[in-house]
Assembly symmetry: D2
């Protein structure tokens, strides 16, 4: 693709070494202006230093946005209404942040008259797909520049040499450099690379950053009450909180109780298996509690339909199709299902365990003690109905049996 006609690029800029090198490389390679965009998604690091760095590198248009509420409210919460888990384990912490970054990058490109966007994701991962599918959906003719797929700075050494040559400061992170590739936001922190590239190797305890180990968690359990409205948590222990505050609070509670660590091999969209470790303290609590409030308030067949569609919904988010009509279509169905999902769930947090200690819903409980009871139900349920129910459900099996269908 010709590099001739790029005038201005909106770059997803973290302030770190890699994206600083990209910034310079874009200017050099494309002779273009660069607009930087740095988002606070709750990753737990200051974003303001990115402004100073961008300024030092001569950037004129610098965007620093606090997107935590939007992230929690419009991305994380809708996803949890679906009980989304990828491949039975992964809570999609990285995946769900990408569409928001893509959207903001396009908005900034539109505002600043940029004709391209750029990002620092590699050509092997899912993130490039998530960024770019989002960008193309939101602005079909946008030019996308993915330096890792283009340049020849393919080793750590060449990258550092480039930085040195161009006067880009190579700060070491506090303490010793992590051997892992990490990504964090309000929902989770992830680790890849290093010894994790051997799926038989157990990660060392000091890799984990957001949670104490179950071993080091308190010896006393913590009980928490979560109030749900239309499928979303709106209060913790009776205190109303914004979505971002809910996530922050649950991360704190979960992390302190050793909750939310995960170590998996997953299937990337680009076709390879990769090993990843994740800490999702708040999300782990949210999934368990959401299922509990749904168990009380959701119709059986609605719940089962949601369960059958969930893997596909989760895959759509994992593979970067948040901004697709099929994800939206599923979301409309999921959101509609949540109207009766109101009530309170009491969870017990203890050394890595989240257990449900109670669930109630004044307005929407479908649990009918009079019918379910083992005691005399005074006619609420006629046990004789069961005979006809079974007989007709068995009819096709009986007809087949008589015709000789054999099982034993």
């Amino acid at each position: 693709m010709s590099s001739s006609n790029v005038k201005k690029v909106a770059l997803a800029y973290s302030g770190g070494l890699d994206t600083s090198v990209i910034l310079k490389w874009l200017e050099e390679t494309y002779g273009c202006e660069v607009v930087t965009f740095t988002a606070d998604l709750g990753q737990g690091e200051e974003v303001e230093p990115a402004r100073a760095k961008a300024q030092a590198m001569g950037v004129k248009e610098i965007y620093i946005d606090d997107l935590r509420e939007e992230f929690a409210r419009d991305f994380v919460f809708p996803m949890f209404r679906a009980n989304a888990i990828y491949e039975g384990e992964y809570l999609l912490g990285t995946s769900i942040a990408r569409p928001l970054i893509a959207k903001r990058l396009i908005e900034i490109a539109n505002e600043t008259g940029a004709d391209a966007i750029a990002h620092g994701a590699t050509g092997k991962g899912n993130d490039q797909v998530r960024f770019e599918l989002g960008a193309y959906a939101l602005r079909p003719d946008i030019r996308v520049i993915a330096p890792w797929r283009e340049w020849d700075l393919t080793s750590r050494e060449t990258l550092l040499a480039y930085a040195e040559k161009h006067g880009i400061p190579i700060e070491m992170k506090r303490g010793k450099a992590s051997p892992y590739s990490m990504d964090a936001n309000l929902l989770h922190i992830s680790y890849e690379g290093g010894i994790l590239e051997d799926p038989w190797a157990e990660p060392e305890e000091d890799m984990w950053r957001w949670s104490v180990s179950p071993e080091n968690a308190p010896d006393q359990p913590t009980y928490v009450e979560l109030t749900y409205e239309r499928g979303d948590i709106v209060a913790i222990d009776g205190e109303r909180l914004t979505p971002a505050a809910v996530l922050a609070k649950l991360n704190q509670l979960g992390g302190a109780n050793g909750i939310g660590r995960l170590d998996i091999v997953e299937n990337r969209y680009v076709g390879m298996k990769s090993r990843g470790c994740y800490e999702t303290p708040g999300g782990t609590i949210m999934l368990k509690a959401h299922r509990a409030i749904e168990s009380l308030t959701l119709d059986r067949e609605v719940a089962h339909l949601k369960d059958e569609l969930m893997p596909r919904y989760a895959s759509l988010i994992y593979t970067g199709y948040w901004w697709s009509p099929e994800r939206r279509m599923l979301q409309q169905m999921i959101d509609a299902s949540q109207a009766p999902v109101n009530g309170v769930v009491r969870v017990k947090l203890y050394k890595g365990n989240v257990s449900v200690a109670g669930r109630k819903s004044e307005s929407n409980s479908l649990f009918d003690m009079n019918i379910a009871t083992f005691e005399d139900d005074r006619g609420a349920y006629n046990q004789k109905d069961a005979e006809g129910f079974i007989k007709l459900n068995a009819l096709r099996l009986r007809i087949a049996g008589r015709k000789g269908a054999s099982f034993i």
Copy 2:
């Protein structure tokens, strides 16, 4: 239905009060002979006392079967190949035992010339459905007698009075009587009724029988290595074990480490919600470990297809359709998928947590370190391929965007 023409009934007989009353009631009501069938499914109670009781009540044909290996090998293991969970939580411990009992009951009816079977399940639950669908599928013209749907002994008092009147011994279980309705087998033990009928009430610690609480579990983790062949565990820590021995061993390890407790509200097939508590120590370990070995050895799309069909497969087992052609059809597909599921999973057990500490497969690992690596891959993967991959996946979104489909 006329009671005139029943000559001999094969009864699922536990030896307890309820089924002893049923035994007598059948003889009285139907003027028929009763054959008793008592199975050792690993419930942890002796089955021989049932023989003595049946003899004392004058039964001539008494079947006492040790079905533990058949149960583990032909029912539990195939189900775990599917990663089956009902409604996101329940490991189907009761559900999976019923089709075996139904099958054996029909076999015994066939052997003894019985023209009917009887069971002690109530008219409100799932078990009646599971027993009867199985029976009808395996012998379409069998007569089924479900005393709880027929008689007027609907309260504890009337039942006890009937027992006393007919000289049926009312032994109390060891210690004080449990306030819960329980069911146990090699896979799990369940609790219903009593204070559990209030979904807001947390069960008391002394309800649980198979596991210590996480609080009381050892302060040191236990590591275990599980060897898989074609999706089944065949060895623990290198020692080859039969399926039943695998389950027993994992129950012991899981129970000692506080693993496998569950407290849920579930949707019964007969249309009501009910509260149940379950202990499934070994099964909880098996599910986690099976997903881990699959994550390494199963193709992505095969795994996703399994995940999408799993809820339906689990529902089929929950609702009693084990002996149906659609369950068999799904099973054939699931079993076929397991050919490459070979290798070893190392799990860490600690105070209620099961975590995967490693997974490997010499013969079938699809994890390719050369491709996945963050380091230089020497051309194993061409990052430039990603551009075309993304571009064509985005094409439909771009066309729609140009035509004005709007998201923001």
Copy 3:
């Protein structure tokens, strides 16, 4: 069930012999008052005679409703948005009328203070289920009386004798009585029974009532243009029509061209297979045309998701779950998908064939001639992108192949 406490029954009353006998039988058996409800659903027979009959039998509250527009607009049209077909063939003509009758029956019961409803469906069919599930969903404590499941008038002879004894006029339909059990409404007419009970027997030509045979249809094709808005036909050949008028017009056009006959064996919800013949002239045209307009305006993945969920949606309607939360949830998703389904389809009708002769959509076509063309596309599509697309889609297959997965 005790018959003591029924005071007033709302009866779905056709005015024919069967429901007239039911009317009398209800009064006699339950000592209750009967309210009759007769609906014009487009069955093609006058409904006013039912009023005279009901009056003659002494009924005081008589409801005669023209429900054709409501039926077409709120039931038939939403169903066709889903491209619903049961078991690959059946357009659900009977199924979709039942929930409307159930709803109106409950409304009338509510208005007249009736404590029960009654219908003339037998205990072997699907219609009893559809009526009653609807009634229970809309008024949970309604009493339902299904005489065919209760009485002993199980043969034609006993029924006629009862009618004679109670002075119920036994009018013969015009011409000789049909040997078939029939049901008709604006969407279709159905035939069951008689020689159809042999699945090897071909129905005689004179059974069919709504369409000429393809053999007798005109030798010249008829072309029609159908205008769609949000998935619904709003105009035919440029003339705006109401939903009921659309159906009526397409029935006329289809019937005249020998379109819409169907002869199948289907699986009833109550567990048996049954043979049915159907004429659905307008519906057959609608299905073909709706797929055509969707093919131009719907995103690929949205269309595929709809296709995968369609069989379940169709089953829900077939089995009587229109008034269920899961059907509503699916409907919300389907309706949302139809926003871009606008445009015109030109169909050719000829001797039983419906073929699409053209489709266009000014506002929403996603067909991009510049990209799809076999001619030079001037860079609209970069063919080189396909290489990366294929390479990454093949990656998992290649890795597996290298590990020895074998196909040939």
Copy 4:
């Protein structure tokens, strides 16, 4: 990609202009030897002329294979067991031939020591994907050359100029050249391009090659009896035929009766919509007849599960994943389901219509006239069972209704 190291290429060679140019271009561009492979898949043209042409162009290793039986038996027949249709309309005639060509191409590459394969599919279509996914799955390290994605002969003129320059004979097809891009095999013939690029334009009558128009078909219907064994047609009108002979015979019968024309807009895997016309005379009959024999012999839930999975199975074939583990997994399930699909279907062919005139199965019919009958069934079915069946199926709806869930 460097062109340096290709020594021998196995080329899918039709003998036509395009692949002859490719043959020469490969030799020139890669300095490699070319092996040609020409298959008789029933496209209706002689394959021997391709041998002469290849010889004339100096090819030393020439493969001419009659694959008609393998194609019908191992590809078309298995696909029809699934009732596969893509996007509600397309019978996958082109899609299903590609995996066989890919397989044979790899076999020939293996036999001749070729290190690459080449094909003549463009970079815009599905066929490149189907060829290449198959090739990579069957020989992961194969080099694939797709000249249309590489060269600069992008217009008809440059192609002809190249041919002339290299002495490649430019024979005109018999009669005037077709304005359409066509593909044919035993299952179908397809048309794309030309005026079809306008979805509003109706194709001209003289485009169609395999069938008479319904207008020109005989005025008398043709009846045919198809005998099924395990889901496959094994005899027509009592005469046992091989799979290829079955297809050929049904094509002849269907084509003569104006059956199997289709005109659609479809969604390609590479992201665009395209217009295509198809003639599939035999396949259209097979789909209708297969559903009919299944309707009699397949369990309801098995049939429904097949219907729900069918769209995904069809997509897998359409997008080129025949040689994938997920297609194989689905196929195992589908094939297993066909064990009872035995019997005879009688179809009526008349001016474009295929209708079922009868179906029977001595060994496997699940249609039970005694139960289904409208006449007195002498107790085969107890209508009272329906009450309990409905009551329990309604229970969740009633509970929800009492809690205030509202529909009207």
